[in-house]
């Protein structure tokens, strides 16, 4: 795969507010890349800079090896699906989809054919003459997709396109988007604050916070090997604790030693203060005394697929462990908790505030 887009040292401020602090991103051809982060992290600004709606204060944008930093949006070979769809209310569905084709001066019979093809791709065959106001939210979303893809862009930019849809429709559209991406064979750059969307659809996830990239990698890497507490906390449920490396492959958390697989060979020397991530589904529940530590179940919720429980351990520090298990354990019962060494993710302590875990309202 060849590199298609490169954002190099992009900075952007609005007055005093520094939105992007030196962002460098490389995007391969035919990749599905997701920019993921809480609101205000700079993901939408990054997308708008790519689309040509904002100019970076410094840095440059390379597209297919060419510098397009100063190329206006109407001469960039990419199309955007806007968050609020931005469909032209005074035109029919067909005229909306045909807009980009007519700009190019394509003859009407070809336009008609293309519009038909575009609407068929998004399962809206025969809707050409409908008014935009007659379409539901999900249908408008599809029209916006069709309007963008009939232009055969090399890259499709999607700014939280599923944000306004209800849960069921959103899940359906996720499959639809992945299908479209495979059918069209083009690059998708997707912006969202929804970690589930990011994990299910992407080839690569770029996690952003406060205008900086926190981590980039495959969904599996982001989930299993987060590099700092922010990423660990933002993606999925987590237990994040402070720990200290006792020696290679042994970390002490709240006075209890846990075997792990990290050591000085990957930068975690004995004596180092670290953050430790243990996913709730990785905490195995054994009879009391048979695990690494004993804890008392303090609450229990039935989530559907599994039970979610909180357990208070009788150790130093006052930490409540979040557990997810298919089996139910009564509140008040004592259990033994065990974690496999490979399921303990050791992370460096945050160097800056934006690498710290935050409280997120979703």
């Amino acid at each position: 795969m060849a590199e298609l887009i490169r954002l190099e040292n992009i900075r952007k401020s609005y007055g005093e507010n520094e939105v992007l602090k030196n962002i460098t991103i490389s995007i391969q051809e035919k990749e599905f890349v997701t920019l993921l982060g809480p609101s205000g992290c700079g993901k939408t600004t990054t997308l708008r800079i790519l689309g040509g709606f904002e100019n970076p204060d410094s840095g440059r944008i390379l597209f297919d090896g060419k510098d397009i930093t100063n190329v206006p949006s109407n001469r960039r070979n990419l199309n955007t699906v806007f968050q609020n769809y931005a469909l032209f209310p005074h035109m029919t569905v067909g005229d909306n989809v045909a807009f980009g084709l007519r700009v190019k001066g394509m003859n009407e019979s070809d336009v008609k054919e293309k519009v038909h093809y575009g609407l068929k791709l998004v399962n809206l065959e025969g809707y050409e003459n409908r008014k935009i106001s007659q379409m539901s939210g999900g249908q408008q979303q599809r029209v916006a997709m069709a309007r963008a893809i009939v232009n055969e862009p090399k890259v499709l930019l999607l700014d939280e396109p599923l944000g306004a849809l209800d849960l069921k429709l959103r899940q359906e559209m996720q499959y639809e988007l992945v299908r479209l991406k495979h059918e069209l064979g083009i690059t998708f750059i997707y912006v969202t604050h929804d970690q589930e969307e990011a994990l299910t659809m992407s080839d690569k996830v770029i996690v952003m916070n406060s205008g900086r990239i926190q981590q980039e990698g495959t969904p599996e890497e982001i989930y299993n090997e987060p590099e700092n507490a922010f990423v660990a906390d933002f993606i999925g449920d987590s237990n994040i604790l402070s720990g200290k490396m006792v020696r290679n492959h042994l970390v002490r958390i709240n006075g209890v030693d846990f075997p792990c697989i990290d050591g000085s060979e990957n930068g975690f020397a004995p004596g180092l203060d670290v953050d430790v991530l243990i996913r709730p589904e990785d905490l195995e529940i054994h009879p009391a005394g048979k695990g690494i530590l004993d804890a008392k179940i303090t609450s229990k919720l039935f989530i559907g697929m599994h039970y979610e429980m909180l357990a208070q351990a009788d150790t130093e520090g006052d930490f409540e462990w979040l557990l997810q298990n298919y089996d139910s354990y009564e509140v008040g019962s004592m259990v033994g908790l065990y974690v496999r060494p490979e399921n303990i993710q050791i992370m460096h302590k945050p160097k800056t505030q934006e690498e710290e875990a935050i409280e997120i309202d979703i």
Partner: protein
Amino acid sequence: MTFSKKWSAPFIVFVIAGTVIPILSIAYYGFTARGGGITLDNITAMFSANHMQALGLSLLLALVSTLVCLIVAFPMAIVLRDSKFGKQGFTIFVLILPMWMNFLLRTMAWQVLLERAGVINGILQALGLPRQEMMNTPGAVVLGMVYDFLPFMILPIYNAVMKIDSHLIEAAYDLGAGKAYMYRKVILPLCVPGIVSGITMVFIPALTTFVISNMLGGGKVNLIGNIIEQEFTVNSNWYLGSGLSLVMMVFIIISMVLLEKFDKTGEGTFI
């Protein structure tokens, strides 16, 4: 009786006293001969040579001033849209400020400016330039119309332009449109309701005005409004005045219906 029905009573009285009764009495006079009896003479009188000439001139001047208002208002609304947020309100305030002054005073001010010995000629003289005869010309009447009615064009168009979602403009550029194409296909069509109501609010009062033509035309520019006014005041012929008024009313309704055809959303018109 529901709440809204109960409180609508004063408005119904107002509509009956202010609209229905006057129109009925105009219709009565319009179809009545001076000596009594039903006649169509007052209506057909519109087609006499001097009446047609006045109507033609009225149409021409109203069209010209509507066009001038449109040419001034539309670009201005666009400029205002792009300007900084705080400035917009202030600019609009300054533009419609004259509206709060009495209409007669505003028109009289132009008399003082345009007169033979008026302010403009004074300046021209001081610069060593020849005096201009500006009063009592169709140009002076158009100037007065534009000055008096311009805010009625600006406000609806400004409202329409401000309502346009900036994402639509970005979407047009994103799809490859140049600036001219974007304006033609996105901004202009979305302004149509504003333009239509602007035209309605300028063209109709301009078509029927008699005060502006009296004050700036000095009896030399005879519009249909002046003729109707004279029938009521100078000649005390309410029958002919009412007949001509009825024809004008039909004329106005026709032009509003025609305008409505352009406004598919139905937001801008009053029919």
